[in-house]
Symmetry: C2
Subunit: 481 residues, 2 copies
Amino acid sequence: MAKKEQDFVKEITPKSEDYSQWYLDVILKTKMVDYSTVKGCMVIRPYGYALWENMQKELDRRFKETGHENAYFPLFIPESLLKKEMEHVEGFAPEVAWVTHGGYEELQERLCVRPTSETIICSMYSDWIQTYRDLPVLTNQWCNVVRWEKSTRPFLRTTEFLWQEGHTAHRNEEDAEEETLKMLNVYADFAENVLAIPVIKGQKTEKERFAGALRTYSIEALMSDGKALQAGTSHNLGEHFAKVFDIQYLDSDNELKYVWQTSWGVSTRMIGAVIMVHGDDRGLKMPPKVAPTQIVVVPIPAKDPELVNSKVDALYNSLKTKFRIKVDDRDGYRPGWKFNEWEMKGVPVRLEIGPKDIEKGQVVAARRDTGEKIFIPEEKLEETLYQLLEDIQKNMYEQAKQFLADNTYVAHNYDELKEIVEEKRGMAKAMVCGDEACEIKVKEETGATIRNIPFEQEDLGEVCAVCGKPKKHMVIFAKSY
Amino acid sequence: MAKKEQDFVKEITPKSEDYSQWYLDVILKTKMVDYSTVKGCMVIRPYGYALWENMQKELDRRFKETGHENAYFPLFIPESLLKKEMEHVEGFAPEVAWVTHGGYEELQERLCVRPTSETIICSMYSDWIQTYRDLPVLTNQWCNVVRWEKSTRPFLRTTEFLWQEGHTAHRNEEDAEEETLKMLNVYADFAENVLAIPVIKGQKTEKERFAGALRTYSIEALMSDGKALQAGTSHNLGEHFAKVFDIQYLDSDNELKYVWQTSWGVSTRMIGAVIMVHGDDRGLKMPPKVAPTQIVVVPIPAKDPELVNSKVDALYNSLKTKFRIKVDDRDGYRPGWKFNEWEMKGVPVRLEIGPKDIEKGQVVAARRDTGEKIFIPEEKLEETLYQLLEDIQKNMYEQAKQFLADNTYVAHNYDELKEIVEEKRGMAKAMVCGDEACEIKVKEETGATIRNIPFEQEDLGEVCAVCGKPKKHMVIFAKSY
């Protein structure tokens, strides 16, 4: 490797040296994101936004296939509205941005910039929902939200972020619970089959429940530093908001009843998960299904540039409607420099085309996930590329799954639990008694929290790993983002 | 028509009786939009949002085809940043919402909720742009913006609205001007060929120029009440912002130069134009290319419901991947009631399928634009529907174009000008001297403004229609939204 190329990669701090710095190096140098002049607010640059657009497309299709429609509700929520549901306001008030002036005038009532939209949406649903014929209401919104965070990190925790929030209303508990779990499964399917990130589905403990919800479910993923990240949540809101906002409907039995509601969301945080699950010391690794660029073509300079250029043009034109493909024909950069840059950007497949390849009727492909080089006969290029992208997608998922398996441990007692979360890192499966005191003790003493109570329960013993009292269920402990 | 069906249509105030009320009746009853508990902020309901999504798709494709990438910049702009460009802040300060508190703490510096993003984007460009190799920067953002408006009307003027804002940077004036006009043409093409709305392209006068721009161009459309609506603007910002935000690049001649910038935007306002250009006393008329539902199928009850239902299912399944199609199989509503509801919602084509039609191997189609009924042989259904939607699209454009022609007049002198804008309504073409005094006089005395200086100039005489001094160019006067 030439010195110049080495320098390029050296710009990224190795993961093992400083994981936080590695993360920042990767996202800043690949131009996914930048800091803005507004504290805690990020700028999502085109390369990061293109990833988000691809994620949106995949999610939105799944939402629509499950019967949901998009809508848009106001950014501002009057203070009195936010305060209607007590637990909800207590959960969000500390992190709300307040608008107090419009133009040169002071407002009579402060407006909060939405941290989430349950209250403003419920205020509309109480008008819109009159009879059982109006149900279910299956609405989703793509928007920005603001939470005044003390310490921030791009994508993972920012004052403003982008997300989608589904808000649905149903006739009864059964329908609401079915919806809550259906959307959790949509998230899990999206994470595993599109982002190549294995997740653990489960229920949040009472302590970690969403402010105002009856039950909260989550998908939890394991980052490559051994910390967990909550990648999506789905809440059964019960009748809590309906009772406060008076959302009643006349049922077919002629009785007035409260609706049951759900809400569910994933955010630009998921971009952080993609980076931290798949990235390595050379930079990003984009899962092919959402990669902004799936294939980059690097022409190899020749004595006869026309020969190479016309071949590259022909290939590009034959592939451009089938793949997200780019040609890097910038002057003044050597191929090796370009290879490194596209590796850093995590493009799944690089194609090299030089005079020798043209002579042999072949194209050289390099896989970002394994580094492997493959020589593809030109006439088989399209089908091989489809297969290659599929293989890469699958391999990235398998690797992440193996990492999750390798870094999930069983804790039978408190000593083991402490050792796992403090030294080994990763996820600790443990039986607990269900008492909040144990949860708080672990958090205070080790910094780990209960990520969720997995749906897939295992029998690891008879007693709580923290206090020794009789067990209730298995949970996952981990430090988290 | 049965009484019940008549009542349905009667709910909409006739245009001729009260145009404003007609507009509100139409958008509220078709569930495009609703008022929220926040003054001046609208809720875009699924039917309105689906139209916006289709508009976004068409625009976004055109932006990408012309080389633009999407990104996302913060919602908040520090007060000091907004104030950097004096003319810009003077234009926007009176209508800005201010965030003063985050959580329980007062902020050291107020943040404005973006009314437009030139300043925050320029603050980033000054970091990102270093050499001529970094140019052009072709970025677009889809987002919400807030302008504190005193009097609001859904879609047309709201405190919060959705839009896209393109922000580009170029090496020189020529490139910037080319971009400014290119995007104006993209808007015009979109308005005419997608929304079926004819527009007049031209330059804004100095008085109506965007705060901080060098030159502003607009597309202007004529609503069915004779008022004009500015449907999109494109600004050549010159070097104004570059000088204030220090956006300099090292050119290939090794000299440090300021970039030339543009910005351009269209908003949910365009939804208002679609409603007011095409709607009639029966409700909306959706242009097929963006109609949330292009075709609605209404089964006609039969003694043997299975026969009709299975035919409807079969047709729906064969068409659902080709058109945006819906089946209205709601119980408890008569076909006539359904016909009226879908007419009100402006669905371009309604299909009726009853036992008699099945017997004859045909489907009955009704056009929303002409009311015409057509009997389509079942085996020709798909191709006929394609043709029908195309015809409707074309016919809607032709009708709007005819209306524009019929309501555009020539004013040779001030009396004629006053008569046109005050009595005839519509657009008045007139020669003017270019003096701002004439523009102000007309506005004060008649309420009409210069919409733009059309690119397609005509020679209507030698003197200014307002003051009689020598002419400079032809302008369009009209009252406007």
